[in-house]
Symmetry: C2
Subunit: 238 residues, 2 copies
Protein backbone atom coordinates (compact mmCIF):
# COMPACT_ATOMS: atom_id res chain seq x y z
CA UNK A 1 0.00 0.00 0.00
CA UNK A 2 1.58 3.34 -0.98
CA UNK A 3 2.07 5.89 1.77
CA UNK A 4 1.36 9.57 2.40
CA UNK A 5 4.14 11.61 3.97
CA UNK A 6 4.29 15.34 4.66
CA UNK A 7 7.37 17.54 4.61
CA UNK A 8 6.73 20.61 6.77
CA UNK A 9 9.48 22.77 5.30
CA UNK A 10 11.61 22.87 2.14
CA UNK A 11 14.60 22.83 4.53
CA UNK A 12 13.68 19.26 5.49
CA UNK A 13 13.26 18.04 1.91
CA UNK A 14 16.80 16.58 1.66
CA UNK A 15 15.65 13.99 4.26
CA UNK A 16 12.91 12.72 1.91
CA UNK A 17 13.59 10.55 -1.12
CA UNK A 18 11.30 11.82 -3.85
CA UNK A 19 12.45 9.45 -6.62
CA UNK A 20 9.59 7.20 -7.70
CA UNK A 21 7.05 9.29 -5.77
CA UNK A 22 4.49 11.99 -6.44
CA UNK A 23 5.26 15.41 -4.93
CA UNK A 24 2.34 17.72 -4.14
CA UNK A 25 3.67 21.24 -3.69
CA UNK A 26 1.47 23.41 -1.51
CA UNK A 27 1.61 27.09 -0.59
CA UNK A 28 -2.01 27.82 0.31
CA UNK A 29 -1.40 31.53 1.03
CA UNK A 30 -1.12 32.23 -1.79
CA UNK A 31 1.15 30.85 -4.52
CA UNK A 32 -0.44 27.50 -5.26
CA UNK A 33 -3.99 28.83 -4.84
CA UNK A 34 -3.11 31.51 -7.43
CA UNK A 35 -1.56 28.96 -9.81
CA UNK A 36 -4.72 26.83 -9.71
CA UNK A 37 -6.81 29.95 -10.31
CA UNK A 38 -4.62 31.16 -13.16
CA UNK A 39 -4.74 27.89 -15.09
CA UNK A 40 -8.48 27.63 -14.47
CA UNK A 41 -8.84 31.16 -15.89
CA UNK A 42 -7.23 30.10 -19.17
CA UNK A 43 -3.55 30.87 -18.58
CA UNK A 44 -1.68 28.48 -20.90
CA UNK A 45 1.41 27.81 -18.79
CA UNK A 46 3.26 29.09 -15.73
CA UNK A 47 7.02 29.42 -15.42
CA UNK A 48 8.19 29.54 -11.79
CA UNK A 49 11.28 31.72 -11.32
CA UNK A 50 13.59 32.05 -8.34
CA UNK A 51 14.69 35.63 -8.96
CA UNK A 52 12.91 38.87 -9.83
CA UNK A 53 15.25 39.54 -12.79
CA UNK A 54 14.69 36.09 -14.25
CA UNK A 55 10.94 36.61 -13.92
CA UNK A 56 11.06 40.08 -15.51
CA UNK A 57 13.01 38.72 -18.50
CA UNK A 58 10.05 36.56 -19.56
CA UNK A 59 8.10 39.68 -20.54
CA UNK A 60 10.22 39.81 -23.72
CA UNK A 61 8.79 36.38 -24.64
CA UNK A 62 5.24 37.71 -24.32
CA UNK A 63 4.67 36.43 -20.79
CA UNK A 64 2.82 38.26 -18.08
CA UNK A 65 4.98 38.60 -14.98
CA UNK A 66 3.89 38.01 -11.39
CA UNK A 67 6.08 38.71 -8.38
CA UNK A 68 5.64 38.82 -4.65
CA UNK A 69 8.19 39.51 -1.97
CA UNK A 70 7.33 39.45 1.74
CA UNK A 71 3.63 39.23 0.94
CA UNK A 72 3.47 42.29 -1.40
CA UNK A 73 3.38 42.72 -5.21
CA UNK A 74 6.87 43.68 -6.38
CA UNK A 75 7.22 46.91 -8.36
CA UNK A 76 7.30 46.77 -12.16
CA UNK A 77 5.40 43.48 -12.47
CA UNK A 78 1.99 42.85 -14.05
CA UNK A 79 0.63 40.82 -11.16
CA UNK A 80 1.31 40.06 -7.51
CA UNK A 81 0.47 36.85 -5.70
CA UNK A 82 -3.28 37.39 -5.34
CA UNK A 83 -5.58 34.91 -7.09
CA UNK A 84 -7.87 37.85 -7.85
CA UNK A 85 -5.26 39.15 -10.30
CA UNK A 86 -6.51 36.37 -12.60
CA UNK A 87 -10.17 36.97 -11.88
CA UNK A 88 -10.83 40.69 -11.79
CA UNK A 89 -10.74 41.20 -15.57
CA UNK A 90 -8.40 44.20 -15.33
CA UNK A 91 -5.71 42.20 -17.10
CA UNK A 92 -6.80 39.72 -19.81
CA UNK A 93 -5.02 36.47 -18.95
CA UNK A 94 -6.72 33.87 -21.17
CA UNK A 95 -4.28 32.41 -23.68
CA UNK A 96 -1.26 34.04 -22.01
CA UNK A 97 1.70 32.48 -20.20
CA UNK A 98 2.74 33.80 -16.80
CA UNK A 99 6.21 33.91 -15.25
CA UNK A 100 5.87 33.89 -11.47
CA UNK A 101 8.20 34.27 -8.51
CA UNK A 102 7.16 34.02 -4.87
CA UNK A 103 8.96 33.96 -1.54
CA UNK A 104 8.31 30.36 -0.59
CA UNK A 105 6.35 28.52 -3.27
CA UNK A 106 8.91 28.68 -6.07
CA UNK A 107 11.65 27.33 -3.83
CA UNK A 108 9.52 24.40 -2.69
CA UNK A 109 8.69 23.58 -6.29
CA UNK A 110 12.29 23.65 -7.52
CA UNK A 111 13.41 21.41 -4.66
CA UNK A 112 10.70 18.87 -5.55
CA UNK A 113 11.71 18.13 -9.12
CA UNK A 114 13.35 14.78 -8.27
CA UNK A 115 9.86 13.29 -7.92
CA UNK A 116 8.29 11.18 -10.69
CA UNK A 117 5.44 13.66 -10.93
CA UNK A 118 5.19 17.15 -9.44
CA UNK A 119 1.72 18.61 -9.05
CA UNK A 120 0.29 21.72 -7.42
CA UNK A 121 -2.14 21.45 -4.53
CA UNK A 122 -4.53 23.89 -2.92
CA UNK A 123 -7.81 23.55 -1.06
CA UNK A 124 -9.42 24.83 -4.27
CA UNK A 125 -8.42 21.72 -6.24
CA UNK A 126 -8.14 19.17 -3.41
CA UNK A 127 -10.44 16.65 -5.10
CA UNK A 128 -8.44 16.81 -8.35
CA UNK A 129 -5.20 16.27 -6.42
CA UNK A 130 -6.61 13.29 -4.55
CA UNK A 131 -7.95 11.76 -7.76
CA UNK A 132 -4.59 12.11 -9.53
CA UNK A 133 -2.61 10.67 -6.62
CA UNK A 134 -5.00 7.73 -6.25
CA UNK A 135 -4.68 6.93 -9.96
CA UNK A 136 -0.87 7.04 -9.78
CA UNK A 137 -0.90 4.61 -6.85
CA UNK A 138 2.62 5.66 -5.76
CA UNK A 139 3.96 7.04 -2.49
CA UNK A 140 3.11 10.71 -2.19
CA UNK A 141 4.95 13.49 -0.34
CA UNK A 142 3.16 16.76 0.41
CA UNK A 143 5.81 19.48 0.22
CA UNK A 144 4.73 22.43 2.37
CA UNK A 145 6.23 25.73 1.26
CA UNK A 146 6.08 27.04 4.82
CA UNK A 147 7.08 30.60 5.67
CA UNK A 148 10.76 31.29 5.07
CA UNK A 149 11.54 27.71 5.94
CA UNK A 150 9.36 27.61 9.07
CA UNK A 151 6.38 25.34 9.69
CA UNK A 152 3.02 26.87 8.87
CA UNK A 153 -0.47 25.80 9.76
CA UNK A 154 -2.37 26.25 6.49
CA UNK A 155 -0.06 24.10 4.35
CA UNK A 156 0.05 21.42 7.06
CA UNK A 157 -3.72 21.31 7.39
CA UNK A 158 -3.98 20.89 3.62
CA UNK A 159 -1.70 17.86 3.98
CA UNK A 160 -4.08 16.47 6.58
CA UNK A 161 -7.09 17.07 4.35
CA UNK A 162 -5.41 15.23 1.47
CA UNK A 163 -4.35 12.36 3.74
CA UNK A 164 -7.96 11.99 4.88
CA UNK A 165 -9.17 11.77 1.27
CA UNK A 166 -6.54 9.08 0.53
CA UNK A 167 -6.86 7.12 3.79
CA UNK A 168 -8.83 4.20 2.31
CA UNK A 169 -6.13 3.35 -0.22
CA UNK A 170 -2.92 4.74 1.30
CA UNK A 171 -0.91 4.18 4.48
CA UNK A 172 -1.40 7.38 6.50
CA UNK A 173 -0.08 6.08 9.82
CA UNK A 174 3.64 5.41 9.25
CA UNK A 175 4.70 9.05 9.41
CA UNK A 176 4.31 11.18 12.52
CA UNK A 177 4.05 14.23 10.29
CA UNK A 178 1.03 12.74 8.51
CA UNK A 179 -0.55 11.71 11.82
CA UNK A 180 -0.12 15.23 13.20
CA UNK A 181 -1.49 16.82 10.02
CA UNK A 182 -4.53 14.52 10.12
CA UNK A 183 -5.18 15.44 13.76
CA UNK A 184 -4.89 19.16 13.01
CA UNK A 185 -7.21 18.78 10.00
CA UNK A 186 -9.79 17.06 12.20
CA UNK A 187 -9.77 20.15 14.42
CA UNK A 188 -9.80 22.58 11.50
CA UNK A 189 -12.40 20.86 9.33
CA UNK A 190 -15.63 22.08 10.99
CA UNK A 191 -14.63 25.70 10.25
CA UNK A 192 -11.40 25.94 8.29
CA UNK A 193 -11.42 29.73 7.95
CA UNK A 194 -12.02 30.25 11.65
CA UNK A 195 -9.30 27.77 12.55
CA UNK A 196 -6.70 29.35 10.29
CA UNK A 197 -7.58 32.89 11.38
CA UNK A 198 -5.63 32.11 14.54
CA UNK A 199 -2.46 31.33 12.63
CA UNK A 200 0.59 33.57 12.55
CA UNK A 201 0.80 33.73 8.78
CA UNK A 202 -2.82 34.71 8.38
CA UNK A 203 -2.36 37.54 10.85
CA UNK A 204 0.65 38.71 8.84
CA UNK A 205 -1.67 39.09 5.85
CA UNK A 206 -3.92 41.42 7.77
CA UNK A 207 -5.27 43.82 5.14
CA UNK A 208 -8.44 44.20 3.09
CA UNK A 209 -6.94 42.56 -0.01
CA UNK A 210 -5.40 39.81 2.08
CA UNK A 211 -8.68 39.05 3.86
CA UNK A 212 -10.41 38.68 0.51
CA UNK A 213 -7.61 36.37 -0.68
CA UNK A 214 -7.81 34.34 2.52
CA UNK A 215 -11.55 33.74 2.26
CA UNK A 216 -11.03 32.66 -1.34
CA UNK A 217 -8.09 30.30 -0.66
CA UNK A 218 -9.85 28.30 2.08
CA UNK A 219 -12.65 27.12 -0.23
CA UNK A 220 -12.65 23.38 -0.94
CA UNK A 221 -13.05 21.67 -4.32
CA UNK A 222 -14.06 24.72 -6.31
CA UNK A 223 -11.67 24.01 -9.23
CA UNK A 224 -11.17 20.76 -11.11
CA UNK A 225 -7.88 21.86 -12.71
CA UNK A 226 -4.70 19.99 -11.83
CA UNK A 227 -1.43 21.88 -12.49
CA UNK A 228 1.44 19.52 -13.32
CA UNK A 229 5.14 20.11 -14.03
CA UNK A 230 6.07 19.40 -17.69
CA UNK A 231 9.25 20.50 -19.45
CA UNK A 232 10.09 23.43 -17.21
CA UNK A 233 6.62 24.81 -16.67
CA UNK A 234 3.27 24.18 -15.01
CA UNK A 235 0.41 23.26 -17.30
CA UNK A 236 -3.02 21.71 -16.91
CA UNK A 237 -2.80 17.92 -16.66
CA UNK A 238 -4.70 16.46 -19.60
Amino acid sequence: MPSVDICFSPELLPLYRLEGKVAVVVDILRATSSIVTALAAGVTDIVPCSELDECRAWAAAGYLTAAERDGRQAEGFDLGNSPFGYLDGVLPVRGRGVAITTTNGTRALHLSLAADAVIIGAFLNLAAVAEFVRAQNKDVVVVCAGWKGMFNLEDTVFGGALAERLAADFDTASSDATLAALHLWQQAKPDLADYLLASAHVRRLNSLEANQDFEYCVQLDTHSVLPIWREGRLVVNA
Copy 2:
Protein backbone atom coordinates in the same frame (compact mmCIF):
# COMPACT_ATOMS: atom_id res chain seq x y z
CA MET B 1 5.71 39.39 26.96
CA PRO B 2 8.26 36.69 26.11
CA SER B 3 7.26 34.07 23.57
CA VAL B 4 7.27 30.28 23.25
CA ASP B 5 8.46 28.85 19.94
CA ILE B 6 9.00 25.23 18.94
CA CYS B 7 11.60 23.91 16.52
CA PHE B 8 10.39 20.56 15.16
CA SER B 9 13.80 19.33 13.95
CA PRO B 10 17.47 20.13 14.58
CA GLU B 11 17.65 20.67 10.79
CA LEU B 12 15.47 23.76 11.20
CA LEU B 13 17.47 25.23 14.09
CA PRO B 14 19.57 27.55 11.88
CA LEU B 15 16.31 29.46 11.22
CA TYR B 16 15.90 30.23 14.93
CA ARG B 17 17.95 32.81 16.77
CA LEU B 18 18.77 31.31 20.15
CA GLU B 19 20.90 34.18 21.49
CA GLY B 20 19.26 35.75 24.55
CA LYS B 21 16.77 32.89 24.81
CA VAL B 22 16.26 29.71 26.81
CA ALA B 23 16.56 26.46 24.84
CA VAL B 24 14.67 23.42 26.12
CA VAL B 25 16.09 20.32 24.47
CA VAL B 26 13.65 17.43 24.31
CA ASP B 27 14.00 13.84 23.16
CA ILE B 28 11.21 12.10 25.05
CA LEU B 29 12.03 8.61 23.72
CA ARG B 30 14.41 8.34 25.38
CA ALA B 31 17.49 10.53 25.77
CA THR B 32 16.14 13.43 27.80
CA SER B 33 13.88 11.20 29.91
CA SER B 34 16.99 9.14 30.73
CA ILE B 35 19.06 12.23 31.56
CA VAL B 36 16.41 13.47 34.00
CA THR B 37 16.26 10.00 35.55
CA ALA B 38 20.05 9.71 35.81
CA LEU B 39 20.52 13.03 37.59
CA ALA B 40 17.60 12.26 39.88
CA ALA B 41 19.28 8.94 40.72
CA GLY B 42 22.42 10.70 41.92
CA VAL B 43 24.56 10.86 38.79
CA THR B 44 26.84 13.88 39.31
CA ASP B 45 27.14 15.08 35.72
CA ILE B 46 26.46 13.98 32.16
CA VAL B 47 28.77 14.60 29.21
CA PRO B 48 26.96 14.38 25.86
CA CYS B 49 29.18 13.04 23.07
CA SER B 50 28.63 12.99 19.32
CA GLU B 51 30.67 9.91 18.55
CA LEU B 52 30.96 6.44 20.06
CA ASP B 53 34.77 6.71 20.34
CA GLU B 54 34.59 10.04 22.14
CA CYS B 55 32.06 8.54 24.54
CA ARG B 56 34.15 5.43 25.15
CA ALA B 57 37.21 7.54 25.97
CA TRP B 58 35.49 8.98 29.07
CA ALA B 59 35.74 5.58 30.77
CA ALA B 60 39.43 6.35 31.43
CA ALA B 61 38.31 9.36 33.48
CA GLY B 62 36.10 7.15 35.64
CA TYR B 63 32.89 7.85 33.78
CA LEU B 64 30.19 5.33 33.03
CA THR B 65 29.46 5.22 29.31
CA ALA B 66 26.02 5.11 27.70
CA ALA B 67 25.45 4.68 23.98
CA GLU B 68 22.49 4.08 21.72
CA ARG B 69 22.40 3.75 17.95
CA ASP B 70 19.16 3.21 16.05
CA GLY B 71 17.31 2.54 19.27
CA ARG B 72 19.64 -0.18 20.64
CA GLN B 73 22.43 -0.22 23.27
CA ALA B 74 25.78 -0.11 21.47
CA GLU B 75 28.24 -2.91 22.21
CA GLY B 76 30.97 -2.35 24.79
CA PHE B 77 29.15 0.38 26.73
CA ASP B 78 27.93 0.28 30.34
CA LEU B 79 24.46 1.57 29.56
CA GLY B 80 22.07 2.06 26.67
CA ASN B 81 19.42 4.73 26.37
CA SER B 82 16.87 3.22 28.75
CA PRO B 83 16.00 5.21 31.89
CA PHE B 84 15.81 1.88 33.75
CA GLY B 85 19.58 1.58 33.39
CA TYR B 86 19.73 4.17 36.19
CA LEU B 87 16.99 2.59 38.25
CA ASP B 88 17.44 -1.16 38.24
CA GLY B 89 20.34 -1.22 40.71
CA VAL B 90 22.44 -3.53 38.51
CA LEU B 91 24.95 -0.75 38.03
CA PRO B 92 25.59 1.65 40.96
CA VAL B 93 25.29 5.14 39.45
CA ARG B 94 25.11 7.47 42.49
CA GLY B 95 28.14 9.74 42.64
CA ARG B 96 29.32 8.76 39.15
CA GLY B 97 29.53 10.82 35.97
CA VAL B 98 28.08 9.44 32.73
CA ALA B 99 29.26 10.08 29.17
CA ILE B 100 26.33 9.60 26.80
CA THR B 101 25.81 9.51 23.06
CA THR B 102 22.44 9.06 21.34
CA THR B 103 21.20 9.23 17.76
CA ASN B 104 19.18 12.40 17.97
CA GLY B 105 19.38 13.96 21.42
CA THR B 106 23.09 14.78 21.49
CA ARG B 107 22.91 16.52 18.14
CA ALA B 108 19.96 18.66 19.22
CA LEU B 109 21.80 19.62 22.39
CA HIS B 110 25.03 20.61 20.65
CA LEU B 111 23.14 22.73 18.12
CA SER B 112 21.38 24.58 20.96
CA LEU B 113 24.41 25.95 22.78
CA ALA B 114 24.02 29.47 21.38
CA ALA B 115 21.14 29.99 23.82
CA ASP B 116 21.58 31.92 27.10
CA ALA B 117 20.53 28.84 29.02
CA VAL B 118 20.18 25.26 27.78
CA ILE B 119 18.02 22.93 29.84
CA ILE B 120 16.72 19.40 29.39
CA GLY B 121 13.00 18.74 29.20
CA ALA B 122 10.91 15.61 29.53
CA PHE B 123 7.36 14.89 30.65
CA LEU B 124 8.95 13.60 33.86
CA ASN B 125 10.22 17.08 34.84
CA LEU B 126 7.73 19.27 32.98
CA ALA B 127 6.82 21.29 36.09
CA ALA B 128 10.49 22.00 36.85
CA VAL B 129 11.07 23.13 33.26
CA ALA B 130 8.04 25.44 33.34
CA GLU B 131 9.11 26.93 36.67
CA PHE B 132 12.65 27.63 35.44
CA VAL B 133 11.47 29.20 32.18
CA ARG B 134 8.92 31.36 33.96
CA ALA B 135 11.58 32.62 36.37
CA GLN B 136 13.95 33.48 33.49
CA ASN B 137 11.22 35.48 31.78
CA LYS B 138 12.96 35.24 28.40
CA ASP B 139 11.84 33.91 25.02
CA VAL B 140 11.99 30.13 25.01
CA VAL B 141 12.56 27.73 22.12
CA VAL B 142 11.69 24.05 22.52
CA VAL B 143 14.23 22.12 20.45
CA CYS B 144 12.74 18.78 19.41
CA ALA B 145 15.34 16.12 18.71
CA GLY B 146 13.00 14.42 16.25
CA TRP B 147 13.95 11.17 14.55
CA LYS B 148 16.94 11.50 12.21
CA GLY B 149 15.91 15.05 11.46
CA MET B 150 12.23 14.25 10.92
CA PHE B 151 9.27 15.61 12.88
CA ASN B 152 8.08 13.37 15.68
CA LEU B 153 4.91 13.42 17.68
CA GLU B 154 6.14 12.85 21.25
CA ASP B 155 8.62 15.75 21.30
CA THR B 156 6.08 18.04 19.66
CA VAL B 157 3.36 17.16 22.15
CA PHE B 158 5.81 17.91 24.98
CA GLY B 159 6.25 21.37 23.42
CA GLY B 160 2.48 21.82 23.51
CA ALA B 161 2.30 20.73 27.14
CA LEU B 162 5.00 23.23 28.11
CA ALA B 163 3.32 26.01 26.12
CA GLU B 164 0.08 25.32 27.97
CA ARG B 165 1.83 25.62 31.34
CA LEU B 166 3.37 28.94 30.25
CA ALA B 167 0.34 30.39 28.47
CA ALA B 168 -0.61 32.85 31.22
CA ASP B 169 2.75 34.64 31.11
CA PHE B 170 4.07 33.95 27.61
CA ASP B 171 2.95 34.64 24.05
CA THR B 172 1.99 31.23 22.67
CA ALA B 173 0.12 32.45 19.57
CA SER B 174 2.78 34.09 17.37
CA SER B 175 4.26 30.85 16.08
CA ASP B 176 2.31 28.38 13.99
CA ALA B 177 4.52 25.61 15.37
CA THR B 178 3.47 26.48 18.92
CA LEU B 179 -0.20 26.71 17.92
CA ALA B 180 -0.02 23.29 16.26
CA ALA B 181 1.77 21.75 19.25
CA LEU B 182 -0.85 23.19 21.62
CA HIS B 183 -3.64 21.76 19.49
CA LEU B 184 -1.99 18.33 19.38
CA TRP B 185 -1.40 18.43 23.15
CA GLN B 186 -5.10 19.18 23.70
CA GLN B 187 -5.91 15.97 21.83
CA ALA B 188 -3.21 13.95 23.57
CA LYS B 189 -3.79 15.19 27.13
CA PRO B 190 -6.74 13.00 28.16
CA ASP B 191 -4.64 9.86 27.54
CA LEU B 192 -1.07 10.66 26.55
CA ALA B 193 0.10 7.04 26.35
CA ASP B 194 -2.82 6.00 24.20
CA TYR B 195 -2.32 8.99 21.90
CA LEU B 196 1.39 8.37 21.40
CA LEU B 197 0.93 4.64 20.89
CA ALA B 198 -0.28 5.54 17.40
CA SER B 199 2.97 7.29 16.53
CA ALA B 200 5.57 5.92 14.13
CA HIS B 201 8.46 6.23 16.58
CA VAL B 202 6.63 4.40 19.34
CA ARG B 203 5.88 1.54 16.97
CA ARG B 204 9.58 1.42 16.07
CA LEU B 205 10.32 0.76 19.75
CA ASN B 206 8.05 -2.23 19.77
CA SER B 207 9.66 -4.61 22.28
CA LEU B 208 9.18 -5.55 25.91
CA GLU B 209 11.98 -3.26 27.14
CA ALA B 210 10.77 -0.47 24.92
CA ASN B 211 7.18 -0.75 26.13
CA GLN B 212 8.37 -0.47 29.72
CA ASP B 213 10.46 2.60 28.79
CA PHE B 214 7.51 4.13 26.96
CA GLU B 215 5.12 3.78 29.89
CA TYR B 216 7.77 5.35 32.12
CA CYS B 217 8.59 8.28 29.80
CA VAL B 218 4.98 9.47 29.42
CA GLN B 219 4.53 10.13 33.15
CA LEU B 220 4.09 13.80 34.07
CA ASP B 221 5.83 15.72 36.85
CA THR B 222 7.38 12.75 38.62
CA HIS B 223 10.83 14.36 38.99
CA SER B 224 11.70 17.83 40.29
CA VAL B 225 15.26 17.77 38.90
CA LEU B 226 16.23 20.29 36.22
CA PRO B 227 19.28 19.36 34.11
CA ILE B 228 21.14 22.45 32.89
CA TRP B 229 24.20 22.90 30.64
CA ARG B 230 27.23 24.22 32.58
CA GLU B 231 30.84 24.15 31.37
CA GLY B 232 30.54 21.31 28.91
CA ARG B 233 28.24 19.05 30.88
CA LEU B 234 24.72 18.63 32.20
CA VAL B 235 24.28 19.04 35.94
CA VAL B 236 21.39 19.60 38.32
CA ASN B 237 20.39 23.27 38.40
CA ALA B 238 20.91 24.52 41.92
